[in-house]
């Protein structure tokens, strides 16, 4: 749909000569609120409501994303501590494609051992084991998407 910056400018020009400090417009296609502060400066809250005119491409039917791992999956298991995703993102088990995984089930880890990487908005964040012990279970596959708080692994802590 067309709703241009020029439209807003023209509305502002009309309002500048008026005594109103707030103007709200709502149609089926958009919402617009313009507010004037004490210094006479304007802010705009705009929202396009018109739905997208969607077409499916015959070439590539949408590829279903591998099921995201949500924080509900994975039962809590007695005697283990969980490693969860601090941020939503794509989980990688290895430092780069083709490289060996950071850890496997059964690997011994320290609290600061890197057990994976989460990529969120192009930023790579290391995931740490969080406790000294053994990797008891890996709940997510390589390159799978993890919601924030999703269970990634369970660690069986070593008795102190």
């Amino acid at each position: 749909m067309k709703f241009t910056n020029q439209d807003v400018k023209e509305i502002l020009a009309l309002l500048d000569s008026a005594s109103f400090d707030v103007m709200s417009l709502e149609t089926e296609r958009f919402k617009l609120t313009l507010r004037r502060n004490r210094s006479g400066e304007w802010t705009q809250e705009a929202q396009l409501l018109a739905p997208p005119n969607l077409f499916k491409s015959v070439e590539t039917g949408p590829v279903a994303d591998s099921n995201p791992v949500s924080h509900t999956s994975g039962e809590h298991t007695e005697g283990t501590i969980t490693v969860r995703a601090a941020l939503p993102g794509t989980f990688y088990r290895a430092p780069r494609p083709g490289a060996a995984a950071f850890v496997e089930e059964g690997s011994k880890v320290e609290a600061d051992t890197v057990v994976g990487i989460i990529e969120t908005m192009k930023l790579m964040t290391a995931v740490h084991a969080g406790a000294r012990g053994t990797v008891a279970h890996i709940a997510i596959q390589n390159a799978q998407f993890a919601e924030q708080g999703a269970l990634l692994m369970r660690i069986k802590p070593e008795a102190a």
Binding site: M1, K2, F3, T4, N5, V8, K9, L12, L34, R35, N37, S39, E41, W42, T43, Q44, E45, A46, Q47, L48, L49, A50, P51, P52, N53, L54, F55, K56, S57, V58, E59, T60, P62, V63, A64, D65, L87, P88, G89, T90, R96, P97, T120, M121, K122, L123, F145
Partner: protein
Amino acid sequence: MIFRRILIANRGEIAVRVIRTCQRLGIETVLAASEADLDSMGARMADQTVCIGAANSSTSYLNMRAIIAAAIERKADAIHPGYGFLSENSGFARACAEAGVVFIGPTAAQLDAVGDKLKARAHAEAAGLPGVPGGEVSSVAEAHALANKVGWPILIKAVGGGGGRGMKQVHRADPLASMMELAIAEAQSAFGDPRIYLERFIAHGRHVEVQVLGDGANVIHLGTRDCSIQRRYQKLVEEAPAPNLSPALREQMQNAAVAFARHLNYRGLGTVEMLVDCEREAFHFLEMNARIQVEHPVTEAICGLDLVEEQIAVAEGHALRWKQSDIVFSGHAIECRINAEDWNLDFRPSPGTVRSTAVPVGPSVRVDTHMQAGAKVPPYYDSLLAKLIVRGHDRAEALSRMRAALSRFQVEGITTNLAMHRELMQQEEFAQGGVDTGYLPRFLQGRSVRVS
């Protein structure tokens, strides 16, 4: 040729920005969007939206086959690639040509010439531009010899890299071998090209770039931009023109950029990035970006052109509509990149859903964004939410308008770096203008010391 319909192979604010120009020019738009962006602002604005694949960019925004198929199915005359994704991919430019769709950008050969950083250095040298002292190395012994010749510290860079990714600073001979090994492994995995090269590390440098526009025969420049406010090589604030440059140096840099583009018979919009050595009052060629850039609005604000419109005109086969003497610069412009990141938590990304936004409007203020109430900020893509651009008659006025505009800018629902910009714009050193690329890290470091 006249484009009746353009497919936009990108997302976020740049998709919205390209659609706006197309609408003004009466060109129909098709947005190629991933599953994650089907109800984005761009998708609502475009005349048609085609789903090209799943959220992950490798199956959608980097999926050449799906994008070209969508362009053919929707009968688009041309593809605008925006920035990032496939915008500088010569294979994509060739695939477009084979499919009979115009790629809005330089020729595939030009993309190859500037995409390989060593080739670009060689072209710069041939065009008479001074590069940063350095060169390709294939062994540790070669690297030692070269580092001793150009002087320590040095910077290791990936030949296939760009945007600062994979660069490594090395201060002495000791760790050189291990850093090289790491750099080669990273270059291979990130860019599929293990080659690396060395450059002298310039401690007090300013990142200044020149916007150029060519039609394959003639080239003009659209002035300088300063992008020295960076964190980990990601730009956060840009301005045009670059402040506090001597007129002689500015002119030399503009001429050098034009000479470089002419040497390539450059067609389209491009940016020649240079490093200004503040101590020596000299400049070095860094690289050329063969696409529209995030920070292009500051140039538009001071020269009055719509750079997307110029890209389209050149891609349609028109000769440049402007001579250099037609380009008149007026005023000063500053841009702040509003990102979904928490600067109090080491710039931790903050994806989520926008509850509401209020943006400043008025003469001399421009906001390029795809944010609105209900907009999703998916974790799959970069963190840019909006660009706030202000113009003033001079830098002081632009800065004061930026402070006022930032105070009115609100985003609810996700954490942004707005507070960082508000604080940065108050800094005396920034206000003086012409800071080097070490300034922002120093500012952030100083602040974290004060806070803790």
